[in-house]
């Protein structure tokens, strides 16, 4: 093959390759507009059509946990299964890392978030919330030795260190209630509590019943010093914006379940009692 001919062929090949790569990169743009037009249809319709509701949740005792057989159990699971039963569809739980749960809802990985997510204005800017289906307040869990004789105001000082899970409501509340104190952030609750146990942090905050459970497990080191609960704003389902039908459906479902006492009964079982503990660890 002559040099000129080889050069022309090689250039043509190169141009074809470049054209191919740019088209391939454009395909996601087409797919994105398809996703957008799909989400203008209510999620209730897609749930009915597919015959399954996909619920995103994150592991968080006792909302949702893995039991000794590796199955999901918890308050959210009961709520999700009851919801699916009432809708007449299957239920599929999508365990998701907490940090990415809202982005994954927005990008369509699942239909609704039922994961003990507190209603906050910051989150509400990105997603819609239903009316609360649970109200869990936060309490302070502190290292007894290090916080001996502390009143509530004493926690708000620069010598005091708090630990909390990053992205969780306790972290925000600690920042608001105790702005002077130092706040250490971790990827999971267990690590934050461990810091308090080790004496590296004075206290952490958490949604009941976890602080009381921890205080019972380590009675010599940990205690819940105040009965006062903070920020009982309530937890709601999270849904994508622009879906009035779904918001109406879930709100009414929650209202019905509140009215017949089912939600309170389930809430008391998981949050106030400890009957379920032997299913998780024996």
């Amino acid at each position: 093959m002559s040099t000129t001919r080889r050069k022309i062929m090689s250039n043509a090949l190169g141009m074809a390759f470049a054209a191919l790569t740019s088209t391939v990169l454009a395909v996601p743009a087409f797919a994105q507009s398809a996703t957008q037009s799909l989400s203008s249809e209510s999620v209730i319709e897609t749930i009915k059509k597919d015959g399954v509701i996909r619920i995103g949740l994150s592991i968080f005792t006792p909302w949702s946990m893995r039991d000794i057989n590796g199955e999901l159990i918890g308050f959210e699971l009961d709520v999700g299964r009851a919801l699916a039963e009432d809708m007449g569809v299957d239920v599929e739980f999508v365990p998701t890392a907490w940090d990415g749960i809202i982005p994954q809802l927005v990008s369509g990985n699942f239909d609704v978030i039922i994961s003990g997510m507190s209603v906050t204005p910051a989150r509400n800017l990105t997603i819609n919330f239903t009316n609360p289906y649970a109200y869990s307040g936060l309490t302070i869990l502190s290292n007894s030795a290090m916080t001996d004789g502390f009143a509530l105001e004493d926690y708000n000082s620069s010598d005091v260190t708090f630990g909390a899970r990053r992205g969780g409501t306790p972290a925000t509340v600690i920042g608001q209630l105790f702005p002077e104190a130092t706040l250490l952030l971790f990827d999971e609750d267990g690590a934050a509590t461990q810091e308090v146990l080790n004496g590296n942090a004075h206290a952490t905050m958490g949604a009941e019943p976890t602080p009381s459970l921890e205080a019972r497990r380590y009675p010599d080191t940990l205690s819940v010093p105040f009965d006062q609960t903070f920020l009982a704003t309530g937890e709601g389902f999270g849904l994508r914006k622009g879906d009035a039908d779904a918001l109406n459906f879930f709100n009414n479902w929650i209202a019905v379940r509140h009215a017949n006492g089912w939600l309170k009964e389930r809430n008391d079982y998981w949050f106030k009692g400890t009957d379920w503990e032997d299913q998780v660890t024996q």
């Binding site: 797919a31 592991i59 000794i68 590796g70 990008s107």
Partner: protein, 264 residues
């Protein structure tokens, strides 16, 4: 060391609970089944194998493109390689996940397809290769994202291999009338690949360790399962030490395999 940790860390060890989370006997179904940690280990093994194969194919193509005579191909390959090698893996994985995998899954309608399989009778066959089919789209996302990231490194290794083959070989190949493709296939690539087995082995071991990052995009592999276990039971140290042991066995086993392969 156990006693020192207990004194300084104020932790009550509950090692006896860990074996149940690896393998467990279920009374109601009367069978042994793999529990959380072992499920995670199998998922990590699957992801590592599929991502390695995909990264090898993509990386070899990239490496060859990087050495091509055509300027466009060479520039495109170089851009991809340099971008991916100079951005932290966590950032790349998030970007690829939200901008690439999500669109791909929607375009191919993978959710409905995998749910159909999960409900069908062929499920156990698929589950051997891919785990729970309902989580198939997230597995595919993880594999693609990991493979595209690792392909950049494999590409650089392949490029180094190709360029290390003496120029005399290429000239000799042209002299006896071989075309570019034949030269690559019969002369350059066999020599190049044999030379780069050590760094390639290193890269695959690195891939197994990097696979723990995709737990951040909620792929159900070993690290994610361990986070779930810790959140459910507060067995912080026992769970993470066990997971570290699993990763060590996996990576060390692979490096032993490659050492045998090298000496063959």
């Amino acid at each position: 060391m156990g006693f020192r940790i207990e004194g300084a860390l104020n932790y009550d060890w509950r090692w006896e609970l860990i074996p149940d989370y690896i393998v467990r006997y279920r009374e109601d179904r009367e069978e042994w089944f793999a529990n959380l940690l072992l499920q995670g280990l199998f998922a990590t093994i699957r992801i590592s194998i599929y991502a390695s194969v995909l990264a090898l194919v993509l990386g070899t193509l990239l490496g060859v493109a990087r050495c091509s005579d055509n300027l466009t191909i060479r520039l495109l390959a170089r851009t991809y390689l340099e971008l991916l090698r100079n951005i932290p893996p966590v950032v790349i994985i998030f970007i690829f996940f939200f901008f690439l995998s999500q669109q791909l899954i929607d375009a191919l309608n993978l959710n409905a397809w995998s749910r159909g399989i999960a409900r069908s009778d062929a499920a156990p066959f698929w589950e051997f290769f891919f785990g729970d089919m309902r989580r198939f789209p997230s597995l595919i996302s993880g594999v693609i994202v990991l493979a595209m990231f690792e392909a950049a490194f494999v590409g650089e290794i392949v490029r180094a291999g190709i360029q290390s083959v003496p120029k005399g070989q290429r000239e000799a190949a042209r002299a006896i009338g071989m075309s570019g493709l034949q030269e690559m296939r019969y002369i350059i690539m066999p020599q190049a690949m044999r030379k780069v087995i050590p760094p390639m082995a290193n890269q695959f071991i690195s891939l197994i360790k990097d696979s723990s990052i995709i737990s951040l995009i909620s792929v159900q592999e070993l690290t994610y399962k361990t986070v779930e276990l810790v959140a459910s039971t507060r067995l912080i140290f026992e769970a993470w030490i066990t997971t570290a042991a699993f990763y060590f066995i996996l990576c060390f086993g692979l490096s032993m395999l490659f050492r045998w392969f090298e000496n063959r």
